[in-house]
């Protein structure tokens, strides 16, 4: 049994390590490119959201590379993601691909995994499972923290593109580690290199942008056309609200800090959105308000075309924008979106934000009114 799984940012580093250590023969889906998107879109329903098309492309390319089993998550709605696997299974059956979909739901996770392990004829060292999972989570967690750091500090890099190269190098190095000491060494190396890539912090603070929106579009850089990097190159310090490791810690583990923040978020969001509507609409509106309260200069909301919960957030953000005096830019992407068009919009937006700040400085001496 040769297993594969869909791409979502750098989560592959942790998932590949976990499956490989359990004894599976892991076939990695090739990195996402435009071909992946086009291939996926060709075999997907007409107006399905972009993550479905990307995943479909991942599966088809992975099957070409020799995979015969795919690990995928399920769900109970209202977001469509919970039903992706069923339709994808049917599409691959129509294409006569000899692939088995292993769908992990919240209520049959262990049972399904155990069944696959038995079928593959593996002897899994169950005692090692917990430390192994902890290590994989630590890898992904470190890369998420590094990405957050780079998004925040990219505006002061000496050479354009050096931070992104460092990140790619860090991902490769972390992927090769298999012990805590090796991981710590990589962390120290990267931290040292990063210091030399960045100019000292300027006197005038950069524009601070909060990046919110649908989780897959935020985490997968190819699909959001490297939005965070583009904003960094335009001189903005970007803060993103969601990372894969944070999601795992909040929903699968007991992280009291995450849970306390979630309660704060609920308190802040309820006047605008009375209850959760599925997806990450609640988080989008909540973080938008939180960033506004922390004095950010602007917000960028990113969503795939027809994403239902994010469209509700899109309707609510204009009121948040007026109430908290913070500009909001909504970017809707699908496989037809072009990088040049997005860059033009971002340049116009950042110009407008600089001008706004300039005007306020002239009027009151402070960047905010």
């Amino acid at each position: 049994m040769r297993v594969t799984f869909p791409h979502m940012g750098i989560t592959w580093v942790g998932i590949r390590h976990l499956l490989a250590e359990l004894g599976f023969d892991v076939v990695m889906a090739p990195p996402i490119t435009r071909e992946t998107l086009e291939l996926g879109a060709k075999h997907s329903p007409e107006f399905i959201c972009l993550p479905f098309k990307v995943l479909m492309g991942n599966y088809l390319q992975a099957v070409d590379a020799g995979a015969d089993a795919i690990f995928m998550l399920g769900g109970i709605g209202p977001c469509r993601l919970g039903y992706y696997a069923e339709v994808q299974r049917e599409i691959m059956r129509d294409l006569a691909l000899p692939v088995r979909m292993v769908v992990l739901e919240s209520d049959n996770f262990v049972h399904e995994l155990g069944q696959v392990v038995r079928e593959a004829g593996l002897s899994v060292p169950w005692v090692r499972l917990l430390p192994l999972a902890r290590f994989c989570l630590a890898k992904v967690s470190y890369l998420d923290k590094l990405e957050a750091n780079l998004l925040r500090e990219r505006y002061r890099e000496k050479r354009p593109g050096s931070c992104s190269s460092l990140f790619a190098e860090a991902v490769r190095s972390v992927d090769e580690t298999s012990s805590w000491t090796a991981l710590r060494k990589v962390q120290k190396d990267v931290s040292y290199k990063l210091q030399h890539l960045l100019l000292p912090a300027p006197v005038e603070a950069p524009l601070r942008i909060g990046l919110v929106g649908e989780i897959y579009m935020l985490i997968e850089p190819v699909v959001n056309l490297h939005l965070g990097e583009r904003l960094g190159e335009l001189g903005c310090s970007v803060t993103r609200n969601m990372y894969a490791s944070d999601w795992v810690k909040e929903h699968l583990l007991f992280d009291w800090r995450a849970k306390a923040f979630a309660r704060h978020l609920a308190r802040v969001t309820r006047p605008y959105l009375a209850q959760r509507v599925g997806g990450h609409c609640f988080e989008t509106v909540g973080y938008a308000i939180t960033y506004a309260q922390r004095g950010y200069d602007g917000l960028v909301q990113i969503l795939p075309l027809t994403c239902m919960p994010e469209i509700i957030a899109e309707t609510i953000l204009p009121t948040v924008s007026v109430d908290f005096d913070i500009p909001v830019l909504t970017v809707t992407l699908d496989e037809h979106a072009g990088e040049a068009g997005l860059l033009t919009r971002l340049e116009a937006y950042t110009d407008m934000l600089s001008e706004r700040r300039q005007r306020r400085m002239e009027v009151s001496g402070y960047p905010c009114v």
Binding site: F47, P78, A274, G278, C281, T306, E314, T315
Partner: protein, 319 residues
Amino acid sequence: MRVGIPRALSYHEFFPAFEEFFRALGCEVVVTASTTASIAQQGIALACDEVCYPVKVMHGHVAALAGQVDKIFVPRLFSTESGTCECPKLIGLADMLRHSISDMPPLISPYVNMRLGRRGLRRAVWAGAKEITLNPWRISFACRQAHNAWMERRRTWLEGQLSIADKSTNVISLEKPSGNIAVVGHPYNLYDSYLNLRLFEHLHIRGYRVYTPQMLSGRDLVQANLQLRKPLFWSAGRKVFGAGAHYAAASDIDGIIHVASFGCGLESLLIDLVQRMARLHNKPFLLLTMDEHTGEAGVETRLEAFLDMLLWREEAGCV
């Protein structure tokens, strides 16, 4: 107290219940007229660009009620069937309306979550009624009236009555039909003749009987849904797929028309599933994806081509 009910979205499925409930509580109930071009245009202007067409039309209906009534009834339907949920846009509808339309009267928006069972329903009914009366006997009487009215409508649907108002479009009235067509989709797409560009009228003029998901009993729908490996977690999805699968397997149905709104989240997956069922049973299938730019002439052309195909199929003996 004047309570307004917009004739859009959940109205088309539950309207007798809503109207009777508020009437029995002693309110004057104002229901908007059927969708017209001006209501639709108003809705398109007010709503966010990317929302689906039926929700835009809902915005238009709510705007039409502003200034005429004291409160508008827009329930927060999280779940109308145990173990399922609704489309996120229906769940967050009240908030969307609040943020898109200014100068709106307050909304009566009880949170309906049938996943919580009878307790959830009781809480929802109480939340809906408490702004009008706190008398539990009156509320309980209103509930019974609403339930009776809705069961009566269910009964007429099961007998094949498409529209109570316009009896000429009823299934049971056509004695010698040219054929039987199943039209599946969300109730707000099917029973709003402005949204589906008078599809039922076109079918009736040509002498075809029309069958909809509401004409199937709960048991038929559950039976049809068993064909899925994993049950759909949207109640609306179960009805659309259940109807599609049932009618695909039914020998007396000549063809299936699936009416979907562009951008509908549920439909993006359902059109694939229903089409698969139609293909499995070798049933002619037509998908009509509608939005605010669709023209009636285009729909009529496609419909005529589809019906011609059914005739030729029958003549060639392929049935």
